[in-house]
Amino acid sequence: MNPGPLGRRGFLRGATVGAAGAAAFGGFRLADAAGQDGSASGRVVPFEGVHQAGIVTPQQAAATFVSFQVVAPDREALRELFGTLTERVRLLTSGGPVPATDVASVPTDSGTLGPALPPDGLTVTVGVGASLFDDRYGLAARRPARLTKMPVFPDDHLAGSTEVHGDLSLQICADSRDTVMHALRDITRHTRAAIRPLWKADGFHAEPRPAGTARNQLGFMDGTGNPDVARPDVADALVWTRGGAGGEPAWTEGGSYQVVRIIRMLVEFWDRVSLREQETMIGRRRDSGAPLDGARESDTPDYPADPQGHVIPLDAHIRLANPRDRATADQRMLRRGYNYDRGLDAVGDLDVGLIFCCYQQDVARQFRAVQDRLAGEPLVDYIQPTGGGYFFALPGVRGASDRLGSGLLA
């Protein structure tokens, strides 16, 4: 079946028709990346590790979230898909000169980043949805214990939405927008027969204005209460799933539950609301990000001192989301959202909002519990969740011979 050395076209061919094993792809590496000279676009986020990059990685400026239906015909094709994803992500995140194109082929690369790919802080984080564990690939017994289809919450606007769920998710983040798009084009080109895109949402991460946590499009700092996941003990307690614990299959060790929610913000309406009302809905000062009972963003709200909610109402967003008590301490999650902007709606209002994304050890204990508590909060009149899904971000690739999904498909 193998007619000799695999060129890059052979790579493409192998990836799409399964003519060649993924191991054969290993010989093809980019190297000597131009741009790895300390300039911004030379920033490399290591691909390999116990955990995937793009989770506790500090947020890059640009992101895209893409959900796919897996159309690979069988489990072997699924295995090849993960091999191809591993190779592409490894190459793209390393950067380096674009490989030469042979005379019989179309260009090996889209060229949108020029003749040498900048690493540009690129991360590609791969997740799987509950539907991948149906009867198609014989994976039912491997389903992460808490992975379900995303439920419809009471305040959701999901009826008729075409942007929900999926077998596989990619979170692609980089320091520049074009690097994100380049990575997506490269990945889809190499995986057409295996995954078919279902929906996609692009986001941008605002600069701190003027300092502290970045603001969302309601004008408020968003992410202030994030756990300090730079501390391994915090990340281990809140972000990383433990294989074998709580009914989790062993392979989930080092992975993380990912929730993506496309949340439209009705900014025209919001801008017609008094600052006082905005701040009591959120529970923080808009300008400083400080809790309403504090002075600085970093101040911890003192809820026991205000049991009736005179200063920070009991139904303020931050108070419901994180009551700051022992009982809910393990419900905290790592939020990693991006603002989105995608044009206008039917009446000429802006279609902007937040691609809410969070990572956690246990989606039921964390996101679900918080979401249930937020049901009916005053803020729901100004936001409309219109899409998204639950996914499980796979454990990391632990070496040159490992690949994404190796445990899942072992």
Binding site: R13, A19, A31, V103, A104, R192, R196
Partner: protein, 398 residues
């Protein structure tokens, strides 16, 4: 390899032929496209940040330059200047000339162009083919050591090799035309006697008979616009009085037009098919178009049929896609003898992909899951088909 009389570069399609509004073959600018590809892919010195074998090469009537006698395997990057009074094509080949690794399709006199690629260890030569017919070969260049990302070499295709496939393809088209005429007449007869239900039944087979020939659009010249044009590009869109052909009839049949209103269109269809058949012997098929068609029939099908954009009421675009797949299979079949010796894996992949898409299109009408599979499989097939034009670009005397 045959007499070297390459034509000077022609980078535009025949301006006499107005491309039909929807099916637009890319201009037969293989020459230009390849130059751009070589430039974009070049791992030149500015990119890699260290010295790579290469440098300036001058070619003239006396020889095809002086590449270094030896060097490391890996990226090579030359800048080749034509010092002869003629155009020159430059190929980087193995010493036997059996495989081409890189090329500059044309350099104008006094012009300079890059020749860059990545080469495995081995012996290579530069081969110059001048437009006056002279062929010059440089002394060999020996590369040693290991590298990654080396390009594969491909057996060059002489111009004349395309003759047999074109002849076979013409014969296939010619044999298919009577059936198309029959289908058009049946449709016209239905409308003539006012039986629009029968017309709606007979429209699809006739349209598929045409779409199966999809590859032929350029060789059908302006007839394609008359026979199968969409309303795009017409000032009055679907109400434009100049809109004719299958889609205009489709629109009328599925939007309550009367038999009386449709009859001029079906009569015109019969007439246009008759004229096409009469004209066919004098229509040329550019040999270089055939490999492009192998790729682009299905690019068009993805763009207009898979998406449903070309549906004017009958809801049959997936059937049209199926006919386009059949048309592509025929083109691939006549090109197979040229593809097989150059890239057997490619031919296998294309045939597998055609079979897969055909299976995806089998009844019943696909549900969402099967539909996504079809989308993926067609995309994957196109990734394979996209190699055919470059693989079968003529490299006479390379």
């Amino acid at each position: 390899m045959g007499e070297a009389t390459p034509n000077p570069p022609s980078t535009a399609a025949d301006p006499q032929r107005r491309p039909p509004p929807r099916l637009r073959l890319r201009a037969r600018a293989g020459v230009l496209a390849l130059v751009l590809a070589a430039t974009a892919a070049g791992a030149g010195p500015a990119v890699a940040g260290h010295r790579v074998p290469g440098g300036r090469i001058g070619v003239d009537a006396a020889g095809c330059g002086s590449p270094p006698a030896r060097g490391p395997a890996g990226p090579v990057s030359f800048r080749v200047t034509d010092r002869a009074p003629n155009f020159v094509a430059v190929y980087l080949t193995d010493p036997s000339g059996r495989k081409v690794y890189a090329e500059i399709p044309w350099i104008a006199p006094a012009g300079t162009q890059p020749l860059s690629t990545t080469l495995a260890a081995g012996r290579y030569t530069l081969r110059c083919v001048f437009s006056d017919g002279a062929v010059r070969v440089s002394h060999p260049m020996a590369l040693s050591g290991r590298t990654t990302g080396a390009v594969a070499g491909y057996r060059p295709l002489p111009d004349l090799a395309m003759t047999a496939p074109v002849t076979a393809y013409r014969a296939w088209l010619k044999a298919a035309l009577p059936r198309l005429a029959e289908g058009a007449r049946a449709l016209d007869a239905d409308v003539a006697r006012g039986d629009l239900a029968a017309a709606r039944r007979d429209w699809l087979p006739a349209h598929l008979d045409y779409e199966r020939l999809g590859a032929a659009y350029n060789s059908f010249g302006d007839f394609d616009a008359a026979l199968d044009g969409t309303a795009d590009g017409l000032p009055g869109a679907v109400h434009d009085p100049d809109w004719t052909g299958f889609h205009a009839i489709e629109y009328g049949l599925w939007h309550g037009r009367t038999a009386g209103a449709l009859r001029p269109l079906t009569r015109r269809l019969v007439d246009d098919v008759r004229k096409l058949t009469a004209d066919f012997p004098s229509e040329e098929i550019d040999p270089g178009d055939l490999p492009l068609r192998a790729h682009e029939i299905l690019e068009n099908a993805l763009q207009f049929q898979l998406t449903g954009a070309a549906d004017y009421g009958s809801g049959t675009t997936l059937a049209t896609l199926g006919a386009n797949v059949e048309g592509t299979a025929e083109v691939v079949s006549v090109l197979a003898p040229l593809i097989a010796p150059r890239d057997p894996a490619l031919l296998r992949a294309i045939r597998g992909g055609l079979a897969q898409v055909t299976a995806d299109l089998r009844p019943p009408r696909p549900d969402a899951a099967r539909r996504a599979r079809l989308d993926g499989d067609l995309g994957a097939l196109l990734e394979q088909l996209s190699s055919v034009p470059d693989l079968l670009a003529p490299r006479t005397s390379a």
